[in-house]
Structure formats: C-alpha cells, structure tokens
Amino acid sequence: MQDFLGQGGFAFYVWSAFGMTFGLLLAEVLVLRRHHRTILQRVGRLVRLRKQNQPPGEPK
C-alpha cells in the first residue's frame, strides 16, 4: 500500500495529475447538476407566473 501511494517517489506528480483530472471532471458533473436544478426552478417559476396571468383554457 505504501509502495502504491509512493509511486516510486513520484507521488506528487502522479497523484496531482490524476487528482486534478478526476477532481475536475467530477466537479463539472456536480456543477452541471446544480445548474440544472436552478434552471428548472427558474423556468418553473416563470411558467407558473405566466399561467396565473392567463385564464385557463385560453391558447397561448
């Protein structure tokens, strides 16, 4: 285990390369998920506002 983490003395280079890569990719996914949620909320609010201003049944 120690050997694996040490990577023959190149731990800094190896793990910061892999760490940055997968950290950034994971961060992108998380940011996108949060972004999607905010957009849904915002658009949803917009839609509901429009609906309130519009009597039901009338075409848009």
Binding site: G9, F10, T21, E28, H36, V47
Partner: protein, 272 residues
Amino acid sequence: MKINWFKYASPASFYPLAGQLVPKFAAVAAVLVLIGLYVGFFHTADQLGGSNPQKEYYRIIFVHVPTAWMSMWLYLVLAGWSAIGLVFNTRLSFMMANAVAPTGAIFTFLALWTGALWGRPSWGTYWDWDPRLTSELILFFLYIGYMALHSAIDDSRRADRAAALLAIVGVVMLPIIYWSINCPDPNNCAALHQRSDPGSIHASILIPMLLITLGFWSYSFATAFMRLRDIILTREADSAWVRDMLLEARADTGGGSGTSSGVPAGAGRGAV
C-alpha cells in the same frame, strides 16, 4: 428513418431522450475509467523503456494522452456541429456545439496540467515549448475564444452563428498553426518532432489508455447532454411543451405552491 431523424432534431423531443441517456453514459464512463485505472496501476511495470527508463511518473500518460486526444476530438465535434448548423440552419446543432465546448476546454486544460506534471520529472521543467504542449495551449485559446464570443453576444441566434463561424475558421487554421509550431524552421523540419508510432507502445500501456479514452468519450456524451438540456430549457422557456412538462411534473410530485424545489425526485428525473 428520415422521419425519426427529424423527430429527434427538434429540441422538444430531444430533451427527454437526452435525459434518459445521461445516466447511462455516466455509468458506462465510470465503469470504463475504473477498469482502465485498475489495469493502469496494477497490471503495468513500474518502469518503462531500457536505456533511458521512465519511472512511475510515466503513468501520467494514462490520463495525459486521453485528455489530449479528447481535447482535439471534441474541437472537431464542435466544429462539425457548427458547420451542420450553418449549412442546415438547425438550432439543435448549434446547441450541441455549445454544449460540447466547456467539456472540451476542461479536457484541454487537463492535458496541459498533466503534461506539465509529466514534463517536470522527465524533462526537468514544468513547461517546455514542446510542439505538442504548445499546440494544446493554442487549442485552449481557441476554446476560450469560442466561449467568450458566444457569451459576449446577447442575441442567441447571432451568438450561435458567429461562434460557429469562428469554430470553423479555427478548425481550418489549426493544422497550419500546429504545423508552424512543429516546424518553425522549414529548412530543417524533422528535428523537433517526437515521433510516436502506436505500434511501438506496449499493449499493457495501450489498453488502459484506450479504456480511459473510451470512458472519457462516454463522459463527454453525458456532460454534453446535461448541458444541452439546460440550454434547451432556457431557450424554450416560452414554449408550450416546456410549460406542459413542468406543470405535469409538478402535479406528479403533488408539490403545492409552497415548496421551493421544482425537481421531482426519483422516477420523474428522466423526463424533467
């Protein structure tokens, strides 16, 4: 077949389809990358090469090469969708190009980052004006330019088309730029070039590299579709199908006007 294509070329029908595909691509990406990493770390030698051995740091190429490949492929994808959009005037193609760009920029940044970390132990410096790293840097500028131009224009139609044109100009210029960096002295071209011939790479190195590349492809599909859904949603906020979908989703979860979250849990996520 033709009808099918046109059906999915409309944002309204692509939105739910993309929603179903995202988790699948994400899962495939995770599996492929994990297998690739496992093979790369536990089934490879600790040193590479004979006379001038590369020690454990060579493992950085398991992410460096795939990220560099992805950065170039995704720029081609970006330019391809841009061209399709300009020729056929389809809004979804522009949205697709737009959704790919940030992922491509991230891969380009990662290729630079991992390249620098590989360069330090092997060349003794984080940054050398190595042709391939330099090209990667230029590619990064091109991605940034595309995104900056797109976000600087308020009118979404103009933004789409202007950025698309820029992407195409970029893809035409890229080989010339790459070549001029590779061969700054036309009298003597071969000197700087580091040839890498796929046949000379040992299978134990190639397999994890390819696995991770495929995983990154799958990942790119997943993030591009996620971003695409957001773009579609903001741009089509006025349209009837978005309204119906959101109101329906709301009715399903039974949410009253009091809850702040508009996201239905669990099963509904595929559609919304």
